[in-house]
């Protein structure tokens, strides 16, 4: 309870600072929370942006597609490099090096390649989400104690059993952490992609409101996006808990 109280207190403090600061600046640029409330109401009543539901749906679908690709490719690539010693030694460091490149430099070429529609957003989300997942698998495999593998073999475990009973539980925390980071980065990739150039989706709406200096609408749209992002992370944490129960 104290934790929740402290959280609410910080939130209230930030809102108060925002309110005071927002009233001090040019109303075209600064929006206090009190002005956001009516804008949010209009937004949710579909008065300011009637295509809000379609935009949310599109963005969520892009995130879903980007994440599905990231998980599939990240797990496949991570396990391949992790299980195969030579491949891991040869290509693992390259993977880590590529991850260090600020991914946004690839975005212009992704737009040229995939166009302004969903495909380029999915590609960008994938590009961001793939690396943490693949690298988490690699790190997780390295965490598996060789001694536990020997114990399992001595007790009659074959390759599949070693994988299921020893490797997966031993690497679970790292793996799930990577899957969670991957999801967060997929969301960022898709939304940033939309903001950098798109015709539809939450990013396009944000761009529109911001371009027309409809600052209150802009803040309201950002809040809706924020709820989507936090929602996806809550979902991921629920999955994390399920996974932990599964290994027990």
């Amino acid at each position: 309870m104290t934790v929740v109280g402290l959280r609410l207190a910080l939130l209230a403090l930030l809102l108060a600072i925002w309110e005071i600061a927002g009233r001090l600046v040019n109303p075209l640029l600064g929006v206090p929370p009190s002005a956001v409330v009516p804008a949010l109401r209009d937004l949710l009543r579909l008065q300011s942006y009637p295509d809000l539901p379609a935009s949310i749906l599109l963005t969520l679908r892009e995130i879903g597609a980007a994440y599905a690709l990231s998980v599939a490719a990240g797990l496949a690539c991570g396990f391949m490099l992790g299980m195969h010693r030579l491949a891991g030694r040869a290509w693992g460091p390259m993977l880590a090096a590529l991850y260090a490149v600020p991914a946004v430099v690839w975005y212009p070429s992704l737009m040229l390649f995939f166009g302004l529609d969903a495909a380029s957003k999915i590609a960008f989300g994938f590009l961001l989400g793939f690396f943490p997942i693949a690298l988490a698998v690699l790190a997780g495999i390295r965490q598996v104690s060789p001694q536990l593998v020997v114990v399992a073999r001595a007790y009659g475990a074959g390759t599949v059993t070693v994988f299921r009973r020893v490797m997966l539980p031993a690497m679970l925390f790292t793996l799930v952490g990577g899957l969670r980071t991957g999801l967060a980065l997929c969301v960022i990739g898709v939304v940033v992609g939309e903001i950098l150039g798109s015709k539809a989706g939450m990013g396009a709406l944000i761009n529109h409101a911001y371009g027309l200096l409809r600052t209150a609408d802009y803040v309201a749209l950002v809040l809706v996006t924020l709820v989507m992002v936090v929602g996806s992370d809550v979902l991921a944490s629920l999955l994390e808990r399920r996974a932990r129960r599964w290994t027990d």
Partner: protein
């Protein structure tokens, strides 16, 4: 011919490892027989291939030459129904409780949950872990962890128990007590134990037979049969003589290993 059948036969076993500085011969022409119900200790300097020999009996390491027979059948791989292993590090699964760790081998053998739980629970008493069924390894002391590992091996109810310096990581006092405890378990279960150690004390107090191994490449240098009654006192004149004899055998090899 002995009255008891020879449960384990090791014949002319040789093993080489490839290292970055060339091939190293770990074992050279090792032969050994162990009767059913024996407590056979392998003792020798570090790196003499004791663990390699144990790994071979457990089916985890294949010999380059020679053969190993358990109950007359050659060892081709891990066979937890006949041979259970306890390692130097307890090697418990940190995400499993005491009970779940003890059940591990039975689980792999497909024993129904209820039955393996019963077997494991019954073991906890003699293991001195009755109150620790649902604790995780990180909550246990070093001696307790090793007892869980021994419990995991005993749960298999295999005839043969391989123990690779099981008390090597424990402090002296715990070690002595664990030895007494193991002796009690062994006498009650009548298992055949192959026990690797560096400790003269453990070898003399526990074993029915001690095999002294040479420095690398490991060979069996001498075997001693110990017929004294348990529990044994280190102060008896017989033990003092044996200790001196054993030490002179080992001392020579340890000196060679140090050079």
């Amino acid at each position: 011919m002995s009255a008891r059948p020879e449960l384990i036969v090791v014949e002319g076993v040789t093993k080489r490892y490839l290292t970055s500085s060339g091939p190293v011969e770990a074992l050279h022409d090792v032969s050994l027989t162990v009767e059913e119900g024996a407590f056979c200790t392998l003792i020798g300097p570090s790196g003499c291939g004791k663990s390699t020999l144990l790994g071979m009996l457990g089916g985890l390491v294949a010999p380059d030459q020679g053969r190993l027979l358990v109950e007359g059948r050659p060892v081709t791989g891990p066979d937890p129904r006949r041979v259970a292993t306890v390692f130097q590090e307890a090697g418990l699964f940190p995400w499993r409780t005491t009970l779940q760790n003890v059940e591990f081998g039975l689980e792999l053998q497909g024993v129904p949950a209820e039955r393996r739980r019963k077997t494991a629970t019954e073991l906890l008493g003699p293991l001195g872990l009755a109150g620790f069924a649902v604790r995780y390894p990180r909550e246990l002391s070093g001696g307790m962890k090793q007892r869980v590992a021994i419990g995991r091996a005993l749960a298999l109810d295999a005839k043969i128990l391989l123990m690779d310096e099981p008390f090597g990581a424990l402090d002296e006092q715990t070690r002595v007590l664990m030895g007494e405890w193991l002796l009690d378990i062994w006498r009650r279960t009548r298992k055949t134990v192959i026990f690797v150690t560096h400790s003269l004390h453990e070898a003399l107090v526990l074993s029915t037979r001690v095999a002294v191994m040479t420095a690398r490449p490991g060979r069996i240098k001498a075997t001693l049969d110990l017929a004294m009654e348990y529990p044994r006192s280190m102060e008896s004149s017989e033990m003092v003589t044996l200790r001196a004899k054993l030490w002179s055998e080992i001392r020579e090899e340890s000196l060679r290993a140090m050079r």
